[in-house]
Subunit: 242 residues, 2 copies
DNA sequence: TCGGATCCGATTGTTAACAATATCAGGTTA
DNA sequence: TAACCTGATATTGTTAACAATCGGATCCGA
C-alpha cells in the first residue's frame, strides 16, 4: 500500500469516525462512490452500521480535504472534478513541491537518499514504464513525490500535500485514467531530480521539480484540449445551442 | 474589518456550528482563549449556550485549520505556537505567494490593480509606517498579501491561504506582537511588487515576492535568536541542565 | 398553459441521555 | 521509597429522538 495512505483499511483507527472517514475517503477517491453523487446521511449511516453522529464527523473531515461539498440544510455531494480545478492543483503542486525539492536538497539524509534511489530502481526493474500505463496509474509517481516532500523536513508541507492534495490527485487519476506517453519521460525527470538533490543543489532541484510538474500540467492540458475538440465535433449541439 | 475574515462577528452564518466556529476562531486567534489551553466541551458549550453537537462540529473545523489539536478520548487544546512552526509557515508562504504573484502578473485586471495602488496609498497616508508598529499589527500587511492572492485567480490558492494560513499568521502576530523596523522596508517592497505586477512581469513578480517573504522570515529568525540568547543568559539553568 | 402560492415529505441540524475511555488519587507491595 | 495496581471521577465518543429547514408536488388563479 502506498506510504501516504495513513491507514490500512482494516486497521482499527481509534474512533468510529476515524475508521469511517478513512473508508469513505478511499471509497470516494477510488470512485466507488461516484463523483458528484449526493450523499444521504441516514443511508450511509445504515450502510456502515453506525449512527449519524460519527458519520457527520467523518463528513466534516472529508469536506475539509475537499472531497465532499456541503450546503446547510441541503446536504452533501461528492465533489465533481473539473478540468480547471485539476490545473489549479498542478499550479499548487508546482509551487509546493518545487520548494520541497529545494529543502530536500539542503537537508536530506543519506538514508533517505538511498530510499529514493531504491525506489527509482524498483520502478525501472518492474518494467512498468514500457507499458506506459502503470507508472501513473499504480501511483509509483506519487510515491516518489511523497518521499521528496518527506525529505524536505517541513511538517506543514508534508501534512498539506499528503493529507489533502495527493488524495485529490489519486481521485483524478482513478476518474480520468491518466496514462500517457509521458511515463518514460517522467521517470527520467525523476532521475534528474534525485541527482540534483544528491548534489545538494537546492536551486537546481527546485528548478527541475517545477519544470517536471509543469510539464505534467501542460500534458494534461493538451489531453483536455484534444478531448474537448473531439466531443465538440461529435456533439454539434454544444457549439450552437443558445 | 479585514477582507479575509469571511464574516462579521454578529452576522448570522446559517447554522449554529457556523457561528460558533467563527466566534471561536476569532477568540483563539486574538488570544482570548490562550494558546495551549485545554478546551472543555461541556464548559464551552454552556458558555456559548449550545449543546455539544454543534460545538464538536466547530471544533472539528478548527482542527482542520490547525487552530486546535485533538486526541481521541482525551480532548482538545488550542495549538501552542512554536518558533519552528512559524518558520515553516513562512516557507509555505514563500512558495505559495511567490506563485500567486506570478499568476497575478499574468491575469490581474486594471480594476484590481487600482485597488492595490489605492491600498498602498492608504497605508502611506495613514502615517502608520513611521511608527513602525502599526503596519504589521493592524494587518495592513496581510490585507495587501490577501489582494495579491485574490488577483492570482487560483481559487485553491485563495482558499488555502485565506482560510488557514492567514488566520495562523494573525494568531502569531497577536501572540508575539511583531513590530519591527522592517515595517518601512516592507512597505517599499510592496511597492516594488505592485510595479512588477503592473509591468506584467511574472518572473520578476515572483522573485520579489519570494524575497520579500524570505526577508520577513529571516527577520523573525533573528528576533528569535536574539531572544533565545537573552533568556539563556538570564536562565543559566537551561544551558547546563541534563 | 403558465406562473406562483401552499402543503407535504424527507433530510439536515440540534439536543440530551448513554456508553466507553483516560486521568488521577489512593493504597498496596516489593 | 518507588513502582504498580485499583477504583472513582470526569471527559469524550456515540446514540436515538426532536426541531427546523429545504425541495418538490399539487393546487389555484390569471
Amino acid at each position: 500500500m502506498a506510504p501516504y495512505t495513513d491507514q490500512q483499511p482494516g486497521e482499527p483507527g481509534v474512533t468510529l469516525a476515524d475508521r469511517v472517514f478513512t473508508r469513505l475517503r478511499n471509497a470516494i477517491v477510488e470512485g466507488e462512490i461516484p463523483a458528484g453523487s449526493k450523499i444521504s446521511e441516514p443511508e450511509l449511516a445504515a450502510e456502515y452500521g453506525i449512527s449519524r453522529g460519527p458519520l457527520r464527523d467523518a463528513m466534516g473531515r472529508l469536506e475539509a480535504c475537499h472531497l465532499v461539498e456541503r450546503r446547510a440544510n441541503v446536504g452533501a455531494r461528492v465533489v465533481s472534478l473539473s478540468q480547471e480545478d485539476l490545473l489549479e492543483l498542478y499550479i499548487l503542486r508546482e509551487a509546493l513541491e518545487g520548494m520541497a525539492a529545494r529543502l530536500a536538497a539542503e537537508r536530506i539524509t543519506e538514508k533517505e537518499l538511498n530510499h529514493l534511489r531504491r525506489l527509482l530502481k524498483q520502478h525501472e526493474q518492474r518494467g512498468e514504464l514500457q507499458e506506459g500505463i502503470a507508472y501513473f496509474q499504480k501511483e509509483g509517481d506519487l510515491d516518489f513525490h511523497f518521499r521528496i516532500v518527506q525529505a524536505s523536513g517541513n511538517q506543514r508541507l508534508v501534512q498539506l500535500l499528503c493529507n489533502d492534495l495527493y488524495h485529490l490527485m489519486r481521485m483524478y487519476r482513478y476518474q480520468f485514467g491518466m496514462a500517457s506517453a509521458r511515463a518514460l519521460i517522467a521517470f527520467r525527470e525523476h532521475g534528474h531530480i534525485v541527482e540534483a538533490i544528491a548534489d545538494r543543489d537546492p536551486e537546481m532541484a527546485e528548478l527541475i521539480m517545477r519544470r517536471h510538474i509543469r510539464s505534467s500540467r501542460v500534458n494534461v492540458e493538451m489531453l483536455f484540449d484534444a478531448r474537448d475538440s473531439l466531443t465538440r465535433r461529435s456533439d454539434p449541439d454544444l457549439s450552437e445551442a443558445g
